[in-house]
């Protein structure tokens, strides 16, 4: 456990799967009141149930982050329930199949950018508006080692994560004197359920592992610990930063 989040109100987009779920569990275990937001209401309910079963506090919000009115509704729901929003974690994101640029499709581009860039922008905008009203807060966006490095075949994903870094740093400077800190976390390849389902070939796993000097995949809890650190008061002088949890990948 890193920092204490007793009664802090935490909204996590993409909170029903992968790294978002790991963050939801970690903040709840740290005493936070957690709003789990995701597109699938069934998945959201599952995570809320698991948090409550462990004695944590959570609500579920079904939300498509590419829809501006849905995002406004998401923030409103949290504020209606708990009266404020202390922490926003924007973890909703998708990938498209590995494809070289010459063979990429317009539909894939639009879909990925909508979730990974527009979704982060809309979520951040809604969170910042609320935080301005209440006088402060902290936002952590899910960027990636691919906000710093590139990977052939992942042009859309890389472009989207570079964009998340740019949104994060710009907004951080804009709201630095409004009590709102905005940072991003840059994970390497993490052994999420989605990763384990998508990548099964031992050679590919070995190659992806080898990108990290630690020569292993990260654990979702390791990313959640870094997100919690950024969100906590311990990081009170940290804003506009990209924190890596990548086993050394971006040091290479």
């Amino acid at each position: 456990m890193t920092e204490n989040f007793n009664d802090k109100v935490v909204l996590i987009t993409g909170g029903a799967s992968g790294l978002g779920e790991a963050c939801a569990q970690a903040f709840a275990a740290g005493g936070g009141r957690v709003a789990v937001a995701d597109v699938s209401s069934e998945a959201v309910a599952g995570v809320v149930d698991r948090i409550e079963a462990q004695g944590g506090q959570a609500i579920g919000v079904t939300c498509d982050v590419t829809d501006s009115s849905a995002v406004e509704g998401m923030v409103k729901r949290v504020v209606d329930t708990w009266g404020r929003l202390d922490v926003g974690v924007n973890s909703a994101g998708i990938v498209t199949p590995i494809t070289p640029v010459a063979e990429t499709e317009e539909g894939d581009f639009d879909r990925l950018m909508a979730v990974n860039v527009k979704g982060v922008w809309l979520s951040m905008r809604g969170q910042i508006r609320q935080m301005l009203e209440q006088g402060g807060g902290s936002i952590v966006n899910m960027a990636s080692a691919l906000s710093i490095r590139v990977h052939p075949g992942s042009a859309f994903y890389v472009a989207s994560k570079f964009a998340v870094a740019g949104l994060t740093r710009t907004a951080a400077v804009e709201y630095a004197q409004s009590g709102i800190r905005i940072n991003a976390i840059c994970p390497g390849n993490i052994k999420t359920p989605m990763f384990e389902k998508a990548v099964t070939d031992p050679e590919t796993i070995a190659a992806l592992q080898g990108l990290h000097p630690m020569n292993r995949l990260g654990k979702p809890e390791e990313v959640a610990a870094a997100v919690m650190w950024l969100a906590s008061d311990a990081a009170s002088f940290t804003t506009g930063s990209l924190l890596t949890a990548d086993g050394g990948w971006t040091a290479t």
Binding site: A176, N215, E222, T238, G240, S241, T252
Partner: protein, 261 residues
């Protein structure tokens, strides 16, 4: 408070500035800490105050023999090292026109050779412990040096390169030793107070320093120590070779040219 419970740590420059804050926080979180410094009186005093959890070691970080002896003594006393925080540093701002070769060599010796020797002997000891964490205190000046940080900026950049090569080497060898750096901007330390007090207009300079950060203030030692604690603890177990900025957003802005800071 047990985030580094039972760990054996060494903090160079542990008797002053950021080092003191780090020593106190590591002890509060359950570590036993060697305060390694050339400042004997302050170091002894801090060690006494910390009782069983603190030990003073006189260490000039540029002296290889002292590193070898110091680590040997530490291992005999508490066993191999788990955490090394390198906070020893000097900073005497001067432009390229004013800085002397002797100043250059002093800065390179403390930050470059110091980090080299510290990492070298820490890795040797940590291998016996089955792993460890090294945290090097760098600076925003290594990433985006101002015009008066001729020697300091270059020396911190040298230290940064060591941080990364140690991270890569230890990762590849599977030593379970992580190596990261923390990059503070202006922080309220005795060194900063000294700058401020020597200025014609201390309040004006303080304001200038604060304005370099989007947060428009100067950091506290505790805010830097929090970052060091995180990187030293197992919470950051997938982080290595990382440059962690605790800079109030300073590096998101271009250097404020003409302010002479």
């Amino acid at each position: 408070m047990t985030r580094v419970n039972g760990k054996v740590a060494m903090v160079t420059g542990g008797a002053t500035g950021i080092g003191v804050g780090v020593v106190r926080m590591l002890v509060d979180e359950g570590a036993r800490v060697v305060i390694a410094d050339i400042a004997e009186e302050a170091g002894q005093q801090l060690a006494e105050e910390l009782g069983e959890s603190g030990l003073f070691l006189r260490l000039d970080v540029t002296d290889e023999g002292q590193w070898q002896q110091g680590i040997r003594d530490l291992e005999e006393h508490w066993g191999p090292l788990d955490i090394l925080v390198q906070s020893a540093g000097i900073s005497r701002p001067a432009s390229i026109e004013d800085a002397s070769l002797a100043e250059w060599r002093d800065h390179m010796a403390v930050h470059g050779e110091g980090a080299f020797l510290g990492c070298k002997y820490a890795v040797q000891s940590m291998k016996k412990a089955g792993g460890g964490a090294i945290v090097n205190i760098s600076s925003v000046e290594s990433i985006r040096p101002g015009p008066l940080f001729t020697c300091y900026g270059a020396a911190k950049a040298a230290q940064d390169a060591i941080t990364k090569t140690v991270a890569l080497h230890c990762g590849e060898r599977g030593y379970n030793i992580r190596c990261n750096s923390v990059h503070p901007a202006a922080t309220y330390t005795p060194l900063l107070e000294q700058y401020l007090n020597s200025a014609e207009d201390p309040a004006g300079l303080e304001k200038t320093y604060a304005s370099m950060q989007p947060l428009n203030r100067i950091a506290t030692v505790e805010e830097i120590a929090h970052a060091v604690l995180f990187l030293a603890s197992d919470e950051s177990s997938f982080m290595t070779g990382h440059q962690m900025y605790v800079d109030g957003g300073a590096l998101t802005k271009p250097y404020p040219s003409g302010e002479g800071a």
